[in-house]
Symmetry: C2
Subunit: 409 residues, 2 copies
């Protein structure tokens, strides 16, 4: 490898509120790193790169715009969902490496979740196989917080802050009427309940709403649920319940699939309206009380108005550390965040590159010892874990009342 090579960076998977903070960290460090010549960005990840969708990132985002980039939600470079073949003899690898050579790429940074780390892993393995001399490094990102080997992931803190704040506001809204009611909030997370669990931060005092929280890490029983709802509404009038989209019964069947027993829609498809909607109908049907459901939907991952300062800072730092790991030659790694076991109770993170292969195949659930015995609440251990992740406020610059975000267009 000649002394100074170029760096290329891409974003992949579902967007988050801070994936661009990591991009800004990569760009900021790479543009000033003496081992790196120039910084390119791939548009729409590896899929766009295959179609030569590459931009000059230093030109596109000059210094003055790099903070604005950091607080812009969604993926500035665009994203993709693209899995590289398992067979390293597939011609796609040779094609990719030819393109790397054309651009004189020495460092490849990829910001994403499990599937993106799989891409980093495979490219790094192919590189080893052909002695390519390139370096492939992953930068973590996911609101699900389900990557292994890292205390948490960038994107989770801001999504958790949005969920907790919004659940508190929904609770305040639900409590204005002096009439029995249940509000069910459906939160993202098919297999991992970290985001739904964060709704516990909305609780202001003992017995405050949300009084019931259900994660996909435990089995859900509709009969027990209805009984509990009856009791809670009798005792406390207004009940707010938070559920992960992926809650399921003991047989593994998703609660949102229960709806499909009803029939097909006009186009012959299963009528799935989400588990929140199903439970709303269930409670209203069985107990006759006022029931409504709110699906937080994509807003929980793309909002910019409730960023966690901690999350933005850590996401940026993961980008910076990714570039440093790359110039150290640590190929096949992902930057992980490790919480210092701090006796003083202060919060401190150490960044370490770890082998990406192990991470790309694993999924981290909410530890069962953090979930209450009846499966409808979180213990203090979870609160201690999540609380520091939502701290710190970010002010978004605005023009005429609208947020000022950075855009490629």
């Amino acid at each position: 490898m000649k002394a100074r090579k170029n760096l290329i960076v891409g974003q992949s998977g579902g967007p988050t509120a801070v994936i661009n903070a990591s991009l800004s960290g990569v760009l900021t460090e790479a543009a000033q790193n003496k081992n790196i010549d120039h910084v390119f960005g791939m548009v729409n990840g590896i899929e766009g790169f295959l179609k030569d969708q590459v931009i000059d990132l230093e030109l596109a985002v000059p210094k003055k715009d790099r903070w604005n980039l950091a607080i812009t939600p969604a993926a500035y470079l665009g994203s993709c969902r693209f899995k590289l073949p398992a067979d390293l003899n597939d011609p796609i690898y040779a094609a990719l490496f030819e393109k790397f050579e054309q651009l004189d790429i020495g460092y490849f940074l990829y910001i994403g979740g499990n599937d993106s780390m799989d891409t980093v892993d495979k490219l790094s393995k192919y590189n080893d196989k052909i002695n390519g001399g390139l370096v492939f490094v992953g930068v973590p990102k996911t609101i699900d917080n389900d990557l292994t080997e890292t205390d948490h992931t960038p994107g989770y803190g801001s999504a958790a802050k949005f969920v907790a704040t919004t659940v508190r506001e929904i609770t305040m809204d639900a409590e204005v009427y002096d009439k029995p009611s249940i509000t069910i909030v459906e939160i993202m997370g098919r297999n991992s309940g970290f985001l739904t669990a964060s709704s516990i931060l909305a609780r202001r005092f003992e017995n405050d709403n949300p009084r019931m929280i259900y994660l996909p890490e435990t089995d859900f029983d509709c009969d027990i649920f209805v009984e509990r709802v009856k009791k809670e509404v009798e005792e406390h009038q207004n009940l707010v319940v938070c559920v992960s989209e992926g809650i399921h019964d003991a047989s593994g069947k998703l609660i949102c699939e229960y709806d499909s027993e009803v029939g097909l829609d006009a186009f012959g498809h299963k009528m799935l309206a989400g588990c929140g909607k199903y439970l709303e109908r269930l409670v209203h049907g069985k107990l006759g009380i006022k029931a409504r459901s709110v699906e937080l939907n994509v807003v929980q991952r793309c909002h910019g108005s409730l960023l966690s300062g901690t999350d933005v800072e850590e996401a940026f730092e993961c980008g910076v550390k990714g570039v440093k790991a790359a110039t150290f030659g640590l190929t096949g790694t992902m930057i992980t965040m490790n919480r210092a076991d701090n006796k003083k109770g202060t919060y401190e993170i150490k960044y370490l590159p770890k082998p990406v292969g192990e991470i790309s195949n694993g999924v981290k659930p909410v530890p069962s010892e953090w979930i209450s015995e009846n499966g409808s609440d979180l213990k203090k251990e979870f609160l201690d874990y999540v609380s520091p992740l939502i701290e710190g406020e970010i002010t978004i610059p605005s023009i005429k009342g609208m947020p000022k975000y950075l855009s490629r267009k």
Copy 2:
């Protein structure tokens, strides 16, 4: 009436992000007004008042908390949906006025929408009938912005700002993938399209998303819609469409009712999942493209993170002016906001009390001359109207990453 009487204030109808700003305005002015002795609050509106749910508002919210009250969403005093009987001979009126006398009430302020103004109107008429000597004044509130005789209503600006910002963020999220897609955003408004119309503020440049906006003020045609979606997706790849929950066909049938043709749910009820969900299925079924829908739901009325500074200020001022109108003896009025016809293009509001009887029975639609001929867009006149209403940012104080709101509990 003796020189100094007490004032009582209540909140009614659906909560908004700034209904407490009006309450704060009432309290702040009333506490210092030399014509007023003491300020009481009715908990859960007139319904709670009938059950003697009254608090000492000056004690409950001391001076130091009045700004925090102003930026707290949902109704601090709680709310109700309670319609007084049309017959003024109904004994409920005598019962209410006896309670007024017990508390030495001279001024009654009620913050709410149409139904609440109906309460103000009836109480004022009964008062005239018995020569009660009390003063009844309404303070407007509704995210729907459908009250007549006022340029706009407190609550609309903040809801519009949330809608516009969130639609922009959803658009950014929708555009990260290089694949054809449609995202349908369902926005509150059964009869009035003002809130849905505000999504036009999310448009950054000509032909930007949201490219189609449908209000209940026009008829919706599913076939024309699907044809248009097909064309837009072919030309622009990612399409974002905003629809009011109350869109209907030429026969007046709600689009969300179309779903009911499919069948009943497990509890024998119509399976209504909203018009957004229906249109998502329609587009996916007919065109086979990736389709998703997002229902903004109650979050659009109870969020605190995207308050319009203009809205907070005006809501507060409507409260202040309500107290002043009351001490002037202007019973049976509601405070209206009137936009000065300002040649310089600056925005200026004059507050005037107007007879509440006319207001309580009317509903203001989006003027047809502000809606484009094909019914799927808004004209510049609407943009000029709505733009000033979302201006100004408010910073919510926070503790450990969560908003610091004022609560009765």
